[in-house]
Amino acid sequence: MSQAIRLKTPLSDADVAKLKAGDKVLLNGVIYTGRDAAHKRLYDLVMEGKPLPVDLKGQVIYYVGPAPAKPGQPIGSAGPTTSGRMDVFSPKLMEIGLKGMIGKGMRKKEVVEAMKKHKAVYFAATGGAGALLAKAIKKAEVVAYEDLGPEAISRLEVEDFPVIVVNDTAGNDLYAEGMRKYAR
């Protein structure tokens, strides 16, 4: 296994350009949560030309709806949800500066193309390892759409949050490569 690359958000074009499918990355800094309902609202605002509650330039969105935090903990279990449901919204968000997405599962061709065009990457976190991943989240604060409950947008402060690059800016796809390598 290759050594993990430590990255600090927000991400620049240069940061993402050097990432290759299969790279292990430890994310540090601020990332934002967002899943189905929040994506729909953000997308609608962009389409209407209205300002967003969060500036997405250089940012990373984590597709997660965390479990409630127990007293004394910043967040409950917080693993990735299936990314494919965000596919219809993602190219538009990359167009306005989104640099990274964290989730699990395959992305549509249009999304992979948008990553090449707008210089962004797709990371996978281990699905179902929500208790473990929550350990890398040091602070969580709802910053928009509180009414959505677990689907609200939260600002997360993360330390060495472990992800792996699935789709890079060159159009490579770790899921396809991995399957080719081990299929019999």
């Binding site: 296994m1 189905d36 309902a37 997660v64 709806g65 965390p66 479990a67 409630p68 935090a69 127990k70 903990q73 409950g76 279990s77 917080a78 693993g79 949800t81 299936t82 494919g84 699990k104 599962g105 395959m106 996978a124 281990t126 699905g127 179902g128 390892a129 929500g130 208790a131 473990l132 929550a134 350990k135 959505l148 409950g149 677990p150 689907e151 792996i164 770790l174 899921y175 490569e177 991995g178 399957m179 080719r180 390598k181 081990y182 299929a183 019999r184």
Partner: protein, 279 residues
């Protein structure tokens, strides 16, 4: 006639909701150990290690293993000599779910289909009631996450498709689900019956402990063959490539109409959550 009070039902359902979401079952942990040994991909091995560490953390800190604590699917085997007293049976199950998801710090994932407004207490539960001989009540809680449930299907095959057609359809289905349902998965296959029954037996197949084969030798052989073919797909843990795409395949079959050949595939994520209690 034995009386069971709804108060007991509420307590048991509440406890099962919490335990099923916090504690990985021994059969699953054993499958992780075996999978880690058999896995050839270094990343795949690492995924198994993460899942084991995740289960340990969840158990020690009493937090949910996964943030998606599911819709509460509740199977009840009700002894015909039981008389339920103290209130509405369905309301008691839902009250148990309400209390369990609140007290266990579990995510409430139930919402209105159109407005998507959260019901805020994870009800209504999905309740399957079956009457059996005896004076006991067995309750099985199987919290079901959206990611794996979305990768499920019912196919009304034609009898002419035959057993080979059925096998191909199952393998193709798991292939196209790929990394989405959190592999290594458990594949529940229902064959026969009607449209709704085939789906229900596919889900029931998931309640069987991992590693326990179908007692029918023909179906046990089918489970084995499907598992080999699925693991030869190369999807691997988390879809990152590897030998272990599925931990097990469980098949259940009932007779069907002479014109039909129904098939359902219900996929479970690696946590394979299920917990039962008898009152």
């Amino acid at each position: 006639m034995r009386e069971i009070n709804t108060r007991q039902i509420i307590e048991v359902v509440k406890k099962l909701c919490i335990e099923a979401n916090l504690y990985l079952e021994e059969d699953v942990l054993a499958a992780f150990e075996k999978g880690e040994k058999m896995e050839e991909s270094p990343v795949g091995k690492e995924v198994f290690q993460q899942l084991k560490e995740n289960a340990r953390l969840a158990r020690e800190e009493k937090v949910a293993m996964c943030q998606d604590t599911g819709l509460a699917v509740v199977f009840v085997e009700l002894g015909q000599d039981v008389h339920i007293v103290g209130g509405d049976f369905n309301a008691a199950i839902n009250e148990g779910v309400r209390q369990g998801y609140q007290e266990g710090y579990l995510r409430k994932s139930a919402c209105h289909c159109f407005s998507r407004a959260n019901t805020k207490d994870n009800t209504p539960a999905v309740i399957h009631l079956e009457m059996v001989p005896g004076d006991k009540m067995k309750i099985t809680l199987a919290p079901k996450g959206g990611g794996s449930e979305n990768m499920s299907t019912v196919n009304m095959l034609s009898p002419s498709d035959g057993l080979e057609g059925l096998k191909n359809r199952v393998v193709e289905w798991v292939k196209q689900a790929g990394s989405n349902p959190c592999p290594p998965v458990v594949v529940g296959v229902g064959v026969g019956g009607t449209f709704e029954q085939t789906a229900l037996i596919a889900k029931k197949a998931l309640l069987r402990p991992l590693g326990q084969k179908n007692p029918d030798p023909q179906l046990a052989a089918l489970e084995e063959e499907l598992l080999t073919r699925i693991n030869n797909l190369g999807i691997g843990p988390q879809g990152l490539g590897g030998r272990i795409t599925a931990l097990a395949v469980h098949v259940e079959m009932v007779p069907c109409h002479i014109a039909s050949f129904p098939l359902a595939v219900n996929i479970n994520c690696h946590a394979h959550r299920h917990k039962e209690a008898v009152i």
